[in-house]
Symmetry: none
Subunit: 416 residues, 2 copies
């Protein structure tokens, strides 16, 4: 079963609205085993919508249309469906009655314009809208099926889950499950992850029915997505399991979590399990590291606090770092980590100092960052040369610091 998404609305093309509906539909259909092969957005224009619908049905068994079902003159999806099918639009009296009753219940009269929402292309059926006034439209066309839903996200979502998905799955001959599992890594660039897994990738690519691999990079982390298709969800998970095991064994400690897990969440869990706490000392990141560690609900159990010593002299007065080798140095990072650990009374101290840019500092170029962790069993430090602009250097510095802490907590396996 293959499906396409067709979003109707000029606001999507001019960038006034981000097409979140397409992502919602993609996720829910994929989870239900329906492959989404294309997603298109077109303007509020009747012939364009009708043409896009015909094209989509040459590639897919089902098309999910969003938007253009409102009461105003620029809502043209009903007209476009009728045009595509070569049938007239007819008033559905039960829809009209329901609309009248709904407005009466609100103590308002139905604006004449809104009665357009009671019209359906001949031969189509209405899809109930439990959250709003615009009914959806289900119509068979060119040996496929079209579901038109409102563009309002929560109405669209409810109708998709309650009506469209059950109908769509009842049409599938051999319902299949597509399951993805996302493995998160840190401390390896995307190319290094891909290179480490290239044998596995080739082996899977040449094996019919095997799971597929994809890489996604962002914020200094690389995600590996394993996707399998099988008759049932359990069978798909069974295909993923040995692939995940091989990836885990290949990537080792660089792999830190799966699916919805976050790096701060994993660290919170490790600290919690050990009855330990953390405090941070920052400079170029201005507080971003503490903000990351406190993004997890319940982080007050493991996060004590932080000191941002943006000016050099505060690194000495607040943290006791001597700055003998300059503010941007490994010894200063270590002293900051030890200082914040001692002064805030935490199990571990984690520190960042460096040059965010755009200007150099102490003769060191932007992207030069020292990170250090201090704990009961010693300390670790690392020198980073981070690429990108100020924002990106700060973001990558935070991820690197979190990853150093994670590796330290896992038993001093940090890569020095």
């Amino acid at each position: 079963m293959r499906a396409e998404v067709l979003a109707v609305g000029t606001e999507l093309l001019i960038g006034d609205v981000v097409n979140g509906n397409a992502a919602t539909i993609g996720r829910l259909l994929t989870d239900a085993g329906v492959e989404v092969v294309r997603s298109t957005a077109v303007a509020d224009d009747e012939p364009t919508i009708a043409e896009a619908l015909h094209m989509a049905l040459t590639r897919a068994d089902a098309v999910l249309v969003t938007g253009g079902l409102g009461p105003t003159q620029d809502d043209l999806t009903r007209e476009a469906l009728a045009l595509a099918a070569g049938v007239p639009l007819l008033r559905d009296e039960s829809l009209a009655d329901a609309l009248l009753a709904r407005y009466e219940g609100l103590g308002r009269r139905v604006p004449a314009m809104n009665l357009r929402q009671a019209e359906l292309p001949e031969g189509a059926t209405a899809i109930p809208n439990p959250k709003g006034t615009a009914p959806g439209v289900r119509m068979e066309l060119n040996a496929g099926v079209v579901y038109a839903l409102p563009g309002v996200p929560h109405e669209m979502h409810a109708m998709l889950v309650e009506s469209v998905l059950p109908d769509l799955l009842s049409l599938a001959d051999a319902p299949a499950a597509i399951v993805s599992r996302t493995l998160h890594t840190a401390g390896m660039w995307e190319s290094a992850v891909a290179e480490a897994l290239s044998d596995l990738h080739e082996r899977l690519a040449s094996t019919p029915g095997a799971p597929t691999l994809a890489w996604l990079a962002g914020k200094g982390q690389t995600r590996v997505r394993v996707t399998a298709r099988a008759a049932t969800r359990e069978a798909a998970l069974g295909l993923i399991s040995p692939v995940e095991a091989e990836i885990r064994s290949t990537l080792g400690i660089a792999l830190w979590g799966v699916d919805d897990e976050t790096l701060p969440g994993v660290i919170h869990g490790l600290l919690l399990a050990g009855g330990q706490t953390i405090a941070v000392a920052e400079s170029l990141t201005g507080g971003l590291l503490g903000a990351a560690l406190t993004s997890t609900p319940g982080s007050s159990a493991t996060f004590r606090g932080g000191v941002t010593a943006y000016s050099s002299e505060l690194k000495t007065s607040l943290l006791g770092a001597s700055l003998e080798e300059g503010a941007v140095s490994a010894s200063t990072a270590r002293a900051m980590a030890a200082g914040v650990r001692e002064r805030l009374g935490s199990s571990f101290g984690l520190a960042l100092t460096g040059v965010a840019g755009p200007e150099e500092q102490e003769g060191q170029p932007p992207g030069t960052v020292h990170v250090a962790v201090a704990g009961p069993s010693g300390s670790d430090a690392r020198l980073l040369r981070l690429p990108g602009d100020r924002d990106r250097v700060r973001q990558l510095a935070v991820t690197s610091a979190l990853d150093l802490l994670r590796r330290h907590l896992l038993g001093g396996q940090a890569d020095r």
Copy 2:
């Protein structure tokens, strides 16, 4: 001039990633007077990308492709462009040299796989990428032009603004200027801004050729976008100018900047002008407030540092706040602001304490936040009841604190 957007990436179809790039491109092209007629997303599949490209060029003069330019095996846009044009992919030695130099500068060797990023379809030219390693591709095809850009949003954005838009506009026959000016406000909800400007909005809407108004809300700030279309940029700016003056007079101190200005940047400018400095004391935001203030290049001239006292006892030991009325109270916020000002030796102290959620604290519901500023001429404090989840409460708290500081710096006009 008509353009289409073609986004490449299975992650978009399965809903792993929302297609924000399409909205960014739509907004920037529309602002530049280029009509976006369709937006399509396809999977990482070479023939599909090539076919979609051909179809797009039957409807549009230019196609902006995003994604699929990375170094890994599932990045197939380069191959698809070559396939669509019926030409081979050739190694560009100057791109390869630049890639080698970039990696050398970072002290890393180029992974063999990454040299794919130095390949171009025969006859195509590279689009410089100031923010990352993947160059873009510009290629003429079927009497139209194709620009392929990376999917990483900040790289895509920079290349679009610096290279693609100027090139695209140089191709337009009769360039009309569409100019937008964005006015930033804080401390007013979107509906209040819209209400204050509703007369102006109606007057403009009923005047042919007058600028249009749009409202955009986000992160506790409301932006008003004024857009004018005229024969030249100067003429468009001339239409905007009296409208901007009227908006400024209506919104008063709530309006803090225009276009690319940021709230931290405006505060940095105010402090710099007065030869003053700031230090922050945080709790629920964990460092986000300091991170915001240091997002501006050169902030070391005005930002001294910060203390995040996440645990209650640190609010006393690090900042000298007595907590008599509890950690979440106006008196504690004031004491934190005064404490950090004194201990870090800054002109002003800015403090946040409150409940981010999801749990309540000291019997106070999530979203209860106290913000305070302390300075040479006294202090200000405010109680906020912020809506939303943990992330949103933290974000809104930061914006509110920055706005309180800004109003305080502008002469104690803070709304108590």
